[in-house]
Amino acid sequence: MDFVVIQSLNGLATASTLFLVASGLSIIFGVTRVVNFAHGSFYMLGAYIAYTLVSRLGGSVAGFWGSIALAAAAVASLGAAMETTLLRRVYKAPELLQLLATFGVVLIVQDLVLVIWGPSDLLGPRAPGLAGAVNILGQPFPQYALFLILFGPLVYAGLWLLFHRTRWGTLVRAATQDREMVAALGVNQAWLFTSVFTLGAALAGMGGALQLPLVAVNHTMDLQSIVEAFVVVVIGGFGSVTGALLAAVIIGELNAFGIVIFPDLTLVLTFVAMAIILVVRPWGLLGKPEAAVRGGAGSIELPMRPLAPRLRLFALGVGLVLLALPLVLGNYGLSVASEVLIFALFAVSLHFIMGTGGMISFGHAAYFGLGAYGAALLMKYLMFPMLGGILFAPVVAGLGALVFGWFCVRLSGVYLAMLTLAFAQITYAIVFQWYGFTGGDNGLIGIWPAAWASSATAYYYLCLALCGGAALLLRRIAFAPFGYTLRACRDSGLRADAIGIDLATHRWLGFALGGAFAGIAGALYAFLKGSVFPDTISISTSIDGLVMVLLGGIQTLVGPIVGAATYKTLHVTMSSYTNQWQAVLGVIIIVLVIAFPEGIMGRFARTAEARTARAGDAAP
């Protein structure tokens, strides 16, 4: 009994921090409709800034608490700066591109933190006055945790008063419910957005700063906290502060007890809870149905047309150049080129789900990873030859996508995206924790290609043949009835249903097909590297794919290939010039989003379409 009480108190302490970060994210989304990936960066910055301030101001009561408050204020002003300089330029862009822009900020902050604070973990002081423990049911319980348990609800009460007792709060609530209405009321929207973003950033910064006495400040705090915050917001319902509180308590408690009962499975547990809740309540506990988030939203997608003759020639030229590459590139260059091809297929398969299918996936790495691990495990345990592994990889990945997809396709928009992420994280956790079978974080090594494909040139040609063939096949499918059916479901579910199309089934099959193709890419990647590690399934792999698709432009079929080539090439070339390539990449992403809100190829397609339309009008 005592144990239960203590554990649930621990859970509540965790919940308070979760709530601080998640509520900010939720409020920002509610008003601006921006899913702010950089929210985790605010959290991390809060912790780092608080660390520096405490070391300057000293760990006295005034020094410590002053530092926390100042850190929150500093992060708040960074948030305001980000909103006014960046987000304002992209509010009109499709929602996914806004996401991409905020992800650019994540990359920049990651490098900034490394430059300013260095790579090692930093240990902060304990909280003065709260460093001891109190006695609860005969057990010592940290005073600081008790303080956190009280602090969370205090912030909730503060937010409640702010939203219900001030004019500003009324506006925020009105904007959350109906954006157009607020614009119609003549409210200064720009100011409202900035202030909301500032408040959200302050909450995240404070959440980070308050971690100082609890954990070592480190540079993985951003992605870790953003994923947790996403989970909480998704469970609670986007835009609902009360929902965030409720969800934070659920996740906090789940962690506190989960760690005791299934110490290895806490991560899985969190995501399973999220999956269950989303299946039962597709918009979270207290959320409302959200209009679907789509890459093309705001700019209507054009009909697909076969490549114009000139572009056909160009594509042929590119094909010839790719065939001739081994003549000019050395082994290193060829292995980079192979990697580009592999990721191009990965991006194309993600685009099939996101673009053609209209289902945003934040967890496509799951199928890439299932393909990689599938091939590697078949080789290791069943002595499969390389080609056998590559052949079975899409089966393994496709089966995984069938299982996960069954749940995912029932949702839409951000919720669907988060559920895909959840399944990717579950896959990651299983692979990571199942040492006996997958080797855990030691990975699987010695996954080398067959003798005939072992030279860099031969493997490059294998990748070219398989990735090129698979990408062409997916393109063909996009032009086939099945591809059209997926686009029909995406464009108008109402109409699709009224002409005999079973939406859920077709979306499900489309999801699985996309997953299967990602599996081929994964298997090729395993043999290219000669090994597989859990990070093939990590969030950053999923995000890489997302960036490639969005960079190239979600509205064209060629886009993901251009995006993958651009992204990987930038990645490789820049990392040889500078240690801060991530930051440079972030800046480039942001510039591209502002310059090409439709993606690189989307821009070309629109210009070309306008030209043909003009030519058509001129013709008799």
């Binding site: 093309g296 209507i300 997608e301 054009l302 009909p303 697909m304 063909r476 499918i477 032009f479 086939a480 009835p481 099945f482 591809g483 059209y484 059916t485 686009r487 029909a488 995406r490 464009d491 108008s492 109402l494 109409r495 699709a496 249903d497 009224a498 002409i499 005999g500 199309i501 079973d502 077709h506 099959l509």
Partner: protein, 263 residues
């Protein structure tokens, strides 16, 4: 009977949008369902084709129960429809919108290799010809004028050789002359193909010119039913329409002089 509807009810939070509707629709009949805004017409349509599940009641097509079936299954039994707010595939051309319905009708939705743009092209163009949209076949649906979208929807709805056509305000957003023409066109098509039609319409000229029978819905209940002439002269109906914009049309339809001033 093509369609028999009995005791159809739908409540929204205690408010009855449709409060017990019964009617029959015979083969080849063109039945108009009229009523002021918010009368429950669209809700009725949505219950007939499964977009909304009724709280109570039965809908039978040739004696077979439709309630509980999803729209896609009802479509396969030969019901086509257009929506009050058009629903088309914006990223496809006009012809492809119709081809999509034809592909579904021929059960080729999961084919992976043929080019969808080439399947049933002729049939799609023929349907577009029928509704006067053939010259715009290769334009993206997203750039069409609203009236043209309504025509595309009609072509799409005809793709599965329906026995019953449900048209929710088929001429909304069109100029008066265009309305009459489109409804004339529809009437010709459905007579030639022996399709039964249920349609709603705010333009009384259109209603009285083409309906073989008219039903009047008010606050979820049918308050009058009969030939266009009988309904037009019904005092009850005139009262319902009093104060709504439609009174103007009603008066004009009766050939009386009208006092102007309607907005």
């Amino acid at each position: 009977m093509t369609l028999s509807v009995r005791g159809l009810v739908k409540n929204y939070g205690g408010v009855a949008a449709v409060a017990g509707v019964d009617f029959d629709l015979g083969p080849g009949e063109i039945l108009a369902l009229i009523g002021p805004n918010g009368a429950g017409k669209s809700t009725c349509f949505n219950m007939l084709m499964g977009q909304i599940r009724p709280d109570r009641g039965s809908v039978k097509l040739f004696g077979r129960e439709l309630v509980g079936l999803p729209p896609r299954a009802i479509w396969r039994q030969g019901v086509g429809r257009t929506f009050q707010i058009t629903a088309t595939f914006g990223s496809m051309t006009v012809a492809e919108n119709v081809q999509m319905a034809l592909i579904s009708h021929h059960r080729r939705l999961r084919a992976l290799l043929p080019y969808a743009g080439r399947l049933h092209r002729e049939a799609a163009l023929a349907l577009l010809e029928l509704v006067g949209m053939a010259d715009q076949a290769v334009r993206p649906c997203s750039v069409l004028a609203y009236g043209d979208l309504k025509r595309v929807e009609l072509a799409v709805a005809l793709a599965n050789e329906p026995k019953l056509l449900l048209m929710d305000e088929p001429t909304a957003g069109m100029a008066p002359r265009e309305r009459i023409a489109l409804m004339q066109l529809t009437a010709d098509i459905v007579r030639a193909r022996h399709i039964s039609v249920l349609f709603t319409e705010h333009d009384m000229d259109v209603v009285f010119a083409h309906a073989s029978r008219v039903m009047v819905l008010n606050r979820g209940r049918l308050v009058a039913e009969g030939s266009p002439r009988a309904v037009r002269e019904d005092k009850n109906v005139q009262e319902i329409y009093l104060g709504t914009g439609a009174v103007y049309d009603l008066a004009r339809a009766k050939g009386e002089a009208t006092a102007g001033g309607e907005a």
